[in-house]
């Protein structure tokens, strides 16, 4: 791990040699993938690190975005047990370590849950069409390119037309060993009128510093219903990036919920493209901070077609000297009339030294729209606190109840009761310790 004062190099540990070594391991990958990787590496090298004056990095701590001291070729560690039940695919240090097969019925109906490597072999056209196909334009182009260059495996979930995949498909990505660099990737393709729930769980096997640079691509075809939950629980020393891209087609609905618990500094960029009439994207996030953690969340809701809907609710609970940044933008393209867009950022201030930045933005180019946003930062409501205390509940307990009440508004949006409970338990492990 480099110190904060050391000069940052533009590639850090991700040198040309490291890239070449990594490429050499992917001999059997199709040429188009390798070409994309080479192009991405070139882009990564050519782009500068973020600067303080970059608008998309406003308020972020950019001095700690070091790429030095990490190790790409680390050995596979052991997978960690997921709180969401057995993982269909478990990756540790970028390598598949275990898998739980899908039920035969779903396999028979054409549902695919496999690795990217295998998908590249067996479903190459599908993978080519959706893999890292969306633009990254929220400030982390360099890191997204790094991901594309180095990602060698990950999860591929495909649900064919009209199939309902039932119980959540669980994928875990873990990092182990000091300096481990991981590039988790999950690609979900839900075809016409299908229905699927996918859970990504990001976890460190130890408390060492890791580098996590992940991406997830969600594609919901005509009338599809896709629920995606990502629970990020990296070690407290980890520097993490996660890029989400969601494409919602006609009458489709995507619900995504990101729970942020871990990392020293975590940047999450989320892009939702409402690509055809009737599309709906619900974007949810919960962040529970402690210590000096920094969570940097950048969201973009792009309404590209008329009669589309998006609803964003990002809640942050701030403790100690933690810092959160929420920067969101709703974009309504000129022809996207009858857009219904909502964006809300709520910060619960639980400490006198915490810092919340809120940048809720709108860019509206159509007039027949309903677009609203709101941002609030405040402590626990003293009247609510008094009400609880007047029932004999001690202040600490009252505050805990109210804080969990604050989270519930987000968790309640999930239809799945077990998922809801699992996430709440995860929060408890952090909050009550």
């Amino acid at each position: 791990m480099s110190t904060l004062t050391a000069p940052q190099t533009i590639v850090g540990s991700f040198t040309a040699e490291a890239f070449a070594a990594q490429l050499a391991k992917q001999k059997s990958a199709p040429a188009w993938w390798l070409d994309r990787k080479r192009a991405a590496y070139e882009k990564f090298v050519s782009l500068p690190l973020p600067k303080r004056t970059d608008e998309s990095w406003r308020f972020s701590n950019i001095t700690t975005l070091t790429l030095d001291g990490f190790n790409v070729g680390g050995r596979a560690g052991i997978s960690t047990e997921a709180p969401f039940g057995p993982a269909h695919l478990a990756f540790a240090n970028n390598t598949l370590t275990s898998r739980t097969p899908l039920v035969a019925d779903l396999v028979g109906r054409g549902v695919i849950v496999t690795t990217l490597a295998e998908a590249a072999e067996k479903h190459t056209e599908l993978l080519k069409a959706h893999f890292m196909a969306q633009p990254q334009k929220q400030g982390s182009e360099k890191f997204a390119a790094l991901h594309t260059a180095f990602v060698a495996d990950g999860a591929f979930v495909y649900v064919p037309r009209g199939v309902e995949a039932g119980a959540p498909i669980v994928i875990t990505h873990s990092a182990a060993g000091a300096g481990a660099a991981v590039f988790p990737h999950t690609l979900v393709v839900a075809e016409e009128n299908s229905k699927v729930t996918v859970v990504d769980y990001f976890v460190s096997a130890d408390s060492a510093a890791h580098f996590a640079c992940g991406a997830n691509d969600l594609y919901a075809g005509h009338g599809a219903q896709l629920t995606y939950v990502a629970a990020q629980n990296w070690s407290r020393e980890t520097l993490s990036f996660q890029f989400n891209s969601t494409v919602v087609r006609r009458d489709a609905r995507v619900q995504s919920l990101n729970l942020h618990l871990g990392s020293r500094q975590a940047r999450h960029e989320s892009l939702s493209q409402l690509a055809a009439p009737g599309a709906f994207s619900e974007m949810l996030a919960l962040t529970v901070t402690e210590g000096a953690q920094e969570f940097d969340q950048r969201t973009l809701q792009i309404h590209q077609a008329p009669n589309t809907k998006s609803d964003l609710l990002y809640k942050n609970a701030l403790r100690d000297t933690a810092k959160t940044i929420f920067s969101g933008l709703i974009v309504v393209d000129p022809d996207a009339q009858k857009t219904d867009a909502y964006q809300s950022n709520r910060n619960l201030m639980l400490s006198d030294a915490a810092e919340a930045q809120s940048l809720p933005g709108l860019e509206i180019q159509a007039n027949d729209v309903r677009c609203t946003h709101g941002a609030t930062s405040s402590r626990i409501d003293p009247e609510q606190e008094f009400y609880l205390q007047s029932r004999g509940i001690r202040q600490a307990m009252a505050d805990e109840l109210l804080t969990f009440g604050f989270f519930e508004e987000v968790l309640n949006r999930l239809a799945s009761e077990p998922l809801h409970d699992a996430l709440r338990e995860l929060i408890k492990t952090k909050f009550k310790k």
């Binding site: 609510q384 609880l388 007047s390 029932r391 004999g392 509940i393 009252a398």
Partner: protein, 253 residues
């Protein structure tokens, strides 16, 4: 048997004195009603006794079974046996009634002791049935999106579950239609008995048709200016508060 004594109590909000020397003693089993026009300090009295941080007790005493409660925090007063039924109960988003009441029950148990969940739910459901509260309510957030009547019934439910020694009921009748009022009054009447003392705070006599008080006090400008039995409430209803005002003026002239 318990006793709640309020002795020459003075309460201020900020710099402004609202309650100006109020004295009242309530025994278990008694129902006292405090009546008075708006702005006379009735709600201030109940909030101050419950320990709301915005209200400063500038002098006087509040004793529960002979011990002062004024140094206690709001939650300690509640566990000592005081219950405040709020005029405007807070909405608590994301905290279900079931969880909330569990936490309140748990807080009353000794360290390390665990609440018996099945017994708790059994008790909760029986109280809910009594108050005609739909069981689905247990999973709803406390007071969130409740109608006025639902909020008041939820207050009574909490009172029934927490079994206080003394209940301060602040304008419990406000905003209730006659059916809701009857349900709330029935609830209170069921709990009435030798172990509970009640202080009803109300502007109107209407509530007292349903919860018949043992004692009625008239509050004016931060003090009790007249006390009597339930007939005083009827007299007030007939003659209006101006009557008290005139009497008061005559007495001080």
């Amino acid at each position: 048997m318990s006793q709640l004594e309020i002795k020459n109590l003075h309460v201020a909000i900020g710099e402004k004195e609202i309650v100006k020397g109020l004295t009242l003693t309530i025994q278990s089993g008694e129902v006292h009603a405090i009546m008075g026009p708006n702005g006379t300090g009735k709600s201030t009295l109940s909030k101050a006794i419950a320990g709301h941080p915005d209200y400063t007790i500038t002098s006087g005493e509040v004793l529960l079974d002979g011990k002062s409660i004024l140094e206690l925090e709001a939650d300690e007063r509640a566990r000592a046996g005081l219950f405040l039924a709020f005029q405007y109960p807070s909405e608590i988003p994301g905290v279900s009634i079931a969880n909330f009441l569990r936490a309140a029950q748990q807080a009353r148990m000794a360290e390390g002791e665990e609440l018996d969940a099945s017994a708790y739910y059994k008790r909760l459901y029986s109280k809910m049935d009594l108050l005609k509260i739909d069981r689905k309510f247990t999973s709803r957030s406390v007071n969130e999106g409740f109608s006025g009547g639902e909020k008041k019934r939820c207050e009574i439910l909490q009172m029934a579950m927490l079994e206080p020694k003394f209940s301060l009921m602040d304008e419990t009748d406000s905003g209730l239609d006659i059916d809701a009022l009857r349900i709330v009054a029935d609830g209170v009447n069921t709990m009435r008995g030798p172990n509970l003392g009640v202080l009803l705070i109300t502007h109107y006599q209407r509530l007292l048709d349903y919860i018949v008080p043992d004692h009625v006090h008239v509050m004016w400008d931060g003090r009790i200016v007249k006390s009597g039995d339930k007939s005083l409430a009827l007299e007030l209803e007939a003659k209006g508060y101006d009557w008290v005002k005139k009497e008061l003026a005559a007495a001080t002239a």
